[in-house]
Symmetry: C2
Subunit: 226 residues, 2 copies
DNA sequence: TCGCAAGTGGACGAGATCGTCCATTTGACC
DNA sequence: GGTCAAATGGACGATCTCGTCCACTTGCGA
């Protein structure tokens, strides 16, 4: 909390401005959940009870708004990683991590879209936090493999593959919790040593670094305009 | 071919009109692949070298155009099902079916989006063909289970879950073939008896009938306007 | 209490897309 | 060759969204 406000500078806002900022974020979550992240900015502004100008001043681009609106969920992802590492049984930790993130994608309408939208980005400011997250995740994977639970040919990028495909599923079928849970169960089972059955094709070149697992703070202005 | 033209009535078109229709479809495939299925209709028309009016006359809605443009791919899906049934080893057949459909999603840019777009629909005219497809797929599943290859708790709706999630993945990462192949491999392995490891959560209520596995012919006018 | 910088709202012009309308052209059949 | 219904193209009005600009308001420190 203190962390993100330091990053976004929301502390230095005047009281009324800070209040409006929060209103906008709440409204954005509602509107995005209801109409998708492509909903008109005007709708968000109206719902928040502010003018468009105010909205644009706080969040110059739709992207910035989306990121800020779902910063909390992203923080939860990061927290899940920490907790996973703390778990004594590494497979338990791994499983919980996958389930927590997928549950977020399943339950918070709008978040999945935000998740993929945020995906290819690797904003400068968070590079370090992300690198840390990547490192932690790697540790988790190694441990789970050493414990003989996670299959040896599991590649870190497979985590991204799992999350993105699950994301796609819940986007295609919002509300179908059973489908989401099924997919997660299948994936988790296929990651176990017992499921290993012949060689897998080569892993993706996807970098985990680009996964939005690290806390976003909010705002998240793009460093590169283009 | 003869089948679909009978359905869409394209035989009764004047020669020039029929030619234009084909041009439009080619252009649509190109444009959709390049800019996504939300590309402006005008762009498609220009690319096809026809006026917008012509485009709108043939395909009253963007949806109709999308369906028609990817009808061939959908036919391939249907054919894959037939071939899967013909395969002596039912697991081989099952595996091939999944791989063929996923390959289509992977290789034909634009098709995945069309696939999910088409998904929730169950147009009257194709009800019978679909029901047949569903029946065939069920047979395939039963056989593969009886052969002791496909896990007993596999539910037909899991096929839809697999396809939709894969679809989401390739949409999020167009061009990352490795990721797509990995997911398919994991899913297939998790469908094997060997992977069964504890109970799965309840299957989705998704009906296979709504999966666009059956041939579309083209055009595919909505029966219900609303 | 006062002054002013920070904050605000909503009108507005630019740009994009939609789908229709109609005057004109063209293919098919006699 | 002639006739006519089918087919065509592109202009056009309607609608929507964006992001900016500016006159007005307000919180807060002195």
């Amino acid at each position: 909390m203190g962390e993100s406000s330091r990053i976004t500078g929301q502390d230095s806002l005047r009281a009324d401005a800070r209040r409006n900022r929060q209103r906008i974020l709440s409204a954005a979550r509602l509107v995005f959940a209801e109409h998708g992240i492509d909903a008109p900015m005007t709708t968000v502004a109206r719902r928040a009870g502010v003018g468009v100008a105010t909205l644009y001043r706080r969040f110059p681009t739709r992207d910035a708004l989306v990121r800020a609106a779902f910063a909390h969920q992203l923080d939860t992802c990061a927290r899940a990683l920490t907790e996973a590492l703390a778990e004594p049984d590494p497979w338990q930790g791994f499983q919980q991590l996958v389930e927590t993130v997928c549950e977020l994608q399943r339950e918070e309408r709008g978040f999945p879209a935000a998740f993929v939208a945020a995906f290819p980005d690797s904003t400068r400011e968070y590079a370090r936090v992300r690198q840390q997250a990547e490192q932690d995740f790697l540790t988790l994977v190694r441990r789970a493999q050493a414990a003989g639970a996670l299959r040896a040919d599991f590649h870190p990028s497979d985590f991204a593959v799992a999350l993105l495909s699950h994301c796609g599923l819940v986007t295609a079928l919002p509300g179908d919790r059973a489908a989401s849970r099924r997919l997660v169960a299948y994936l988790l089972q296929s990651f176990r040593v017992e499921a290993a059955h012949g060689a897998l094709p080569a892993p993706s070149a996807l970098s985990l670094r680009s996964l939005p697992l690290a806390p976003y703070g909010s705002q998240g202005q793009r460093s590169s305009g283009a």
